[in-house]
């Protein structure tokens, strides 16, 4: 017999002959008569296959061309954060029974997924102090855009006001999404959000903001409600363990990136869009929701529910087009929270905040350096130096230290003049990392090397 070209193909030549005979043809090509003859059987020009050992070596070679976050002091963060992932998280979440199942269309053989997702919803509702959490969106950015669209549906208004201190990746996705239904996106400094709510479907505020600054959400929510608008808060899960969460602040829709909850950074995805709202808004919510029920014997079980919001039932009248979501990431997040518990989650959050404050104090003592946040900050902050953020970021990279410049955060000339770096700390930030950064910044500040500034 001939060897299969697809190593995962189970068929022997005999199998194929038997199957073709049962169909009543001599070859698969006889089954393709509906395909236009002039477009049939193209050569693709792809490389030949490899053994598993060869492909593993090839991928290792590619990976070796990257500098991993853990290869040196690392202070890049924001929406996506490098955090400690307990060993039990991947060991459980990547069990084949979770990993290789699909959407729980058949509840009787999907109770593992459905209960795990129900528990995720429950854990997030507690953390955010919100009524209802859905089973996941793709990521923080699409969650922000879907929140804006939900507010447009709920209010009948087509203007969305978003703070300039909302993470730039979220604002970009929001602007891009909004081109579809022609929603008018207005960006204003967070300090002006409360004064800009008139006529808006929603006001979108981030707390802590993209630069780590703590934002007083209550006046924004109050102003939004007075104007008949919804208040959308973008937040971060660890921060919610220590800071007053969205619910008591008067927020109607809370969204955020769930990646810090035990999910690998993986150069941007797959991650987890957290999406929560008040109970009164639940039928406007996008995405799947798991609910509790009983079977015919009265045994507790779980199903996907409120499905008349969804595309497979409601088609063009659905609340969103989302189908495949990030269920496995939601399960990862639930396992992470279950392992850490309230004290572990607070400890991880405290570690980031404390180390950020200590780092800020140390850097601010260097002549020519200042912390540039507009107020108190949480677990990241902006540092302003004479050499400018972009030049500092590049000079630090030469020394194997990875930080983010603020340049990307400003759009179309708004808030120009801020050319800083952002420094994120987490529980993985070590004293040695802090020493290395402080030493390097001190040396660069002393050298005043003009060439660096270019």
């Amino acid at each position: 017999m001939s060897r299969n070209s697809n190593p995962y193909s189970p068929h022997t030549d005999d199998d194929r002959r038997t199957m073709l005979a049962a169909i009543g043809v001599d070859s698969v090509d006889e089954l393709l008569t509906a395909v236009p003859a002039n477009a049939r059987r193209p050569k693709l020009g792809l490389p030949p296959g490899m053994s598993e050992m060869e492909v593993q070596a090839h991928l290792e070679q590619l990976a070796a061309r990257n500098m991993k976050a853990g290869d040196g002091p690392f202070f890049i963060g924001g929406a996506i954060q490098r955090r400690y992932v307990p060993a039990a998280v991947p060991a459980l979440a990547f069990r084949g029974e979770f990993l290789t199942a699909y959407t729980p269309y058949q509840a009787e053989v999907s109770q593992g997924t459905l209960q795990a997702v129900f528990e995720y919803q429950s854990l997030m509702a507690e953390l955010l102090a919100m009524d209802v959490v859905n089973s996941s969106m793709y990521d923080g950015g699409s969650a922000v855009a879907e929140a804006a669209f939900m507010a447009v549906r709920a209010t009948g208004r087509k203007r969305v006001v978003v703070g300039m201190e909302v993470d730039y990746t979220y604002r970009r996705t929001l602007r891009t999404y909004s081109r579809g239904p022609e929603v008018d996106v207005v960006e204003v400094p967070s300090a002006q959000l409360a004064a800009s709510a008139a006529g808006a479907a929603c006001v979108i505020v981030q707390h802590p903001d993209a630069f780590g600054t703590l934002v007083d959400v209550r006046p924004v929510a109050d102003a939004a409600h007075a104007a008949g608008a919804l208040c959308v808060q973008v937040t971060e899960p660890h921060a919610c363990a220590l800071l007053e969460p969205p619910g008591p602040l008067g927020v109607d829709i809370a969204v955020g990136e769930g990646q810090p909850l035990g999910i690998q950074m993986s150069y941007g995805g797959p991650h987890l869009g957290i999406f929560a709202c008040r109970e009164a808004l639940v039928r406007q919510m996008p995405g799947r929701i798991a609910g509790q029920t009983v079977d015919v014997n009265g045994t507790r079980g779980f199903v996907n529910t409120l499905q008349t919001r969804e595309q497979h039932i409601r088609r063009e009248k659905a609340t969103s087009n989302i189908c495949t979501n990030e269920a496995l990431a939601a399960i990862v997040a639930a396992i992470y929270v279950a392992l850490l518990g309230p004290e572990g989650l607070r400890a991880a959050a405290r570690a980031g905040a404390t180390r950020a404050h200590a780092l800020a104090a140390r850097l601010a003592a260097i002549p020519g350096c200042e912390v540039a946040n507009d107020g108190p900050f949480f677990d990241r902050f902006t540092l302003r130096t004479a050499m400018g953020g972009w030049a500092l970021r590049n000079a630090l990279l030469e020394r194997g230290i990875q930080v983010e410049a603020t340049a990307a955060h400003y759009v179309d000339g708004k808030r120009q003049g801020r050319d800083d770096v952002i420094l994120q700390c987490t529980e993985l930030t070590t004293a040695a990392d802090v020493d290395a950064l402080a030493t390097a910044v001190g040396a660069l500040a002393r050298s005043g090397d003009a060439a660096m500034a270019r």
């Binding site: 059987r41 997702v117 507790r300 496995l328």
Partner: protein
Amino acid sequence: MPESGAKTPEPALEPLLVELAQPGRYGRHVRSNDAADIPEAFVRQAPLRLPELTEPQVVRHYTHLSQLNYSVDTGMYPLGSCTMKYNPKVNDRAAALFADLHPRQSYRTTQGVLALAYELEQMLAKITGMNFVSLQPQAGAQSEFTALLVFKAYHAKRGEAAQRRRIIVPDSAHGTNPASAAMCGYEVTTVKSDARGNVDLDALKGALGHDVAGFMLTNPNTLGLFEERVSEVCDAVHAVGGLVYGDGANMNALLGVTRPGDLGFDCIHINVHKTFSTPHGAGGPGAGPLCVKAHLRPFLPKPWIVKEADGSYHYDTAREDREPAGLGDSIGTIKQRLGNFGVLVRAYTYMRTLGEEGLVETSNDAILAANYLLARLRGRYQVAYDRTPMHEFVLTAAPQKRKGASALDIAKGLIDEGFHPSSVYFPLIVPEAMMIEPTETEPKETLDAFADALLRIADRVDTDAASLHDAPVTAPIRRLDEVSAARKPVLRWQRPA
């Protein structure tokens, strides 16, 4: 009593986390003695009533939960339109090599990422017969939405933004198609299928006009049938200035069989979690790269990867992390940089493992398996549109329904036979639809066992259809009350008032 006071009024398969918890139980995964210096006004006042558990408890809980699931790793999972093929383990290990990378790192520290992504784009373009690829969309539906934004930008560039207000979809389309069109601000027109399961060309021509922005077509369609007049369909849409969108959910039938770009499509998305074997993750993540012809490239999401003559890579934006003052004609950004990169690494690994010959063999075997299974079932089950299918086929259980057992009952009967059911009640144009996609990785013995199971169920329908109303009886749980779940939603665990 559980810490939360949550009660369990009825028997349960597995307690909830909150029912296993006791105050004071927790592991030591992260430790911090620091006191955070947070201004009083911002400190959390709301209680944080998360369950407190030990690691062994958590491990047993999730192990038990996993055992309540059916999965590809445990058996045949013939959900039509979902391509539940085997998910190779080497793909997961390859993805782990790229786990500790942040998307805001410099292109200088991520040359391996960019090289892989660039090569993946090239391979996807070759397979689909398109010219350029965006890896940003994180799922098929997001790719549909992205493509419709591209359509909008394309028409706007030609001064026809206000005029082109409609998207046409066939009545056999996935629900995501009309939902994406509506979300993108378009009116949706649905056209019917003809007696052979194709788009009704006359109905389509009747619906077309210069107000049409585009047409969304799945090919093979959701009946598993290749559109017999696909080139005429594309020509008709182009004749009024519209664009043709390919829903690539069924690409597993087409590898080396034909290229959508050669058939007249202007773009197509790829569900890499279907065709390219990445695990479906209990509902996601997936990834949905968008492949387009050259005339749509200017509108693709930014940034784009550029390869230099020396083999190095960077992003096309002037300063790598800065959004340029103008995006040109691009619609903007759907997802920072490269979308669900961890999923894309798995797809790349699969494609390099199989190579051209292996990928061609994949579609051949997928088509062979579907046609073989249909040959075994034809005669006992009615085929919705009886012509040669590609990689999946749709039966109608309408005759069984008349005897007292619906498609749902048959699906539940399959659970008792040890299989995951097929998709049911989709596509909507087939009454009592059963949509079966075996994929290329199920051995003939398994295909035979599945066929035998469906034939036994057909016998049961003839002799005792009512017995299927009780199915499943061997699953962890019996049929669930979905009506009360929706009427009185319980969407989180209950706490005492």
